[in-house]
């Protein structure tokens, strides 16, 4: 119910077209890379999906995170622009329900985004590399991992967007966080737990143990960020 309501609220905001076009743009990255310099990659001795992700994922994930940040800002700007949130707060519903509804919407469009990208990586693998039996499974595993690590980013972006009534402040903070994340060394486990740094990680570059640790850490971060938002809402109400 809350999911449907939140989806209705973003009508005419450009939210869905932004994710669709952003997904197509990110999906175009591996395709264009292969179209212009396939000779650099086809001779490599690794699984095609891993070669493609190793070469393109940094750019693709950067686009994904920027889209998530912009999406979160759009979702909350509809509430703050004409003070609709005040009316919502006077109805028998909780602000936290609204937050989790928006989270569900952002997760859904992020899945759509990753699906478009997965199709592109899968297509590039078939077109430029020899088709292997486990290609389908490899793609699924990688993009499942990306989705898992994207959850803290989605929630943290929404927390930032919910705190400030001015969309430009939320967007600014989000963009700064993205650039901070790009400066974090990818081999440092603790630093890469920063919510905006997690989506840059790939399965191939880590051992099974580290991947398990990241998966657990991502899940724990997701829960903690959700609790943080609930606390913020309670504290904010006390100061209003």
């Amino acid at each position: 119910m809350s999911f449907v309501l939140e989806l209705r609220k973003v009508k005419r905001t450009g939210f869905l077209p932004a994710f669709l076009s952003g997904g197509i743009l990110a999906a175009a990255v591996p395709a264009l890379n292969m179209a212009f310099r396939s000779e650099m990659y086809v001779g490599m001795n690794a699984a095609p999906v891993n070669i493609l992700l190793d070469a393109n994922w940094q750019m693709m994930s950067m686009l994904n995170i920027l889209l998530v940040v912009a999406g979160a800002c759009i979702l909350y700007n509809t509430e703050y622009a004409d003070n609709a949130i005040q009316r919502m707060c006077t109805l028998p519903t909780k602000e936290s329900t609204m937050f989790f509804g928006k989270t569900a919407v952002l997760i859904t469009v992020s899945i759509l985004l990753l699906m478009i990208e997965a199709v592109s990586v899968f297509g590039c693998s078939i077109h430029w590399f020899e088709e292997s039996a486990d290609l389908y499974m490899e793609t699924l595993k990688n993009f499942g991992f990306f989705l898992m690590l994207m959850l803290p980013t989605i929630l943290f972006s929404l927390v930032i967007a919910s705190v400030s009534k001015n969309m430009w402040i939320s967007l600014g903070i989000g963009v700064v966080c993205v650039f901070v994340a790009t400066m974090i060394p990818s081999q440092n486990f603790v630093l890469t737990l920063f919510p905006f740094a997690l989506p840059f990680l790939t399965l191939e570059s880590h051992t099974a143990d580290v991947i398990r640790n990241y998966t657990v850490a991502g899940a724990v971060e997701t829960v903690l960020i959700a609790l943080l938002e609930v606390m913020i809402l309670k504290v904010r109400r006390s100061f209003e």
Partner: protein
Amino acid sequence: MNIIETKNLTKTYGGFAAVSGLNLHVPKGTVYGFLGPNGAGKSTTMKMFLGLTKPSGGSFVIDGKHFPGDRAQILKEIGSFIEAPAFYGNLTGEENLDIVRKILGLPKASVSEALEIVGLTQHRKRLARKYSLGMKQRLGLASALIGKPPILILDEPTNGLDPVGIHEIRTLIRSLPQQFVCTVLVSSHLLSEIELMADNIGILNHGRLLFEGTLDTLKRNAAAQGYPTDNLEDTFLALIDADNQQRGGAR
């Protein structure tokens, strides 16, 4: 029987008391005019009733329900309009009301009914951000009236309306207790406006309740204290002025 009752309701911001020890009694099925100059604490009181602001002290009961324990039940019974219209600018008037309808679990027909009451049926498909100020005000009222709630809290609902609009809304508010069997708490800083709508009034100044009762009682009390009673506007101003003088000339 009182549908809204407050007991020493207080709201402070740092050292400033926006509402101080307020004891309000709103009788069921009446229009209660909440009157006071700007900054008197009218909106703060209404915001506390709606859970938008946490009281610093005291308590209140709405239709026998206590806040904050029965917050959801209280909000189910209240239609509200606070300070300025609040809406989704990217949605049409109809879509805005449909969101409220879904949250309240009302039938689909309640949207068109609310639009009809405030005279927005013709403009229901227009984006709310493209509405004129008066139309936004009407949309806010429609959002408060949807589902005919038993209690209506309206904070300066005629702000921004032209004289014809003011007259229409005033007539509508006046008719609500009979039409929808509801209680209306309406605020204004204009006694002339409240005079035409309210059965009972409460006068607030600097967060304190100066008077509560009927207009006739106000006139009688004012005459007894030597305040002008020919014009209620003058009575109101004299009352506020006397209170300000007592507080050391603070305005």
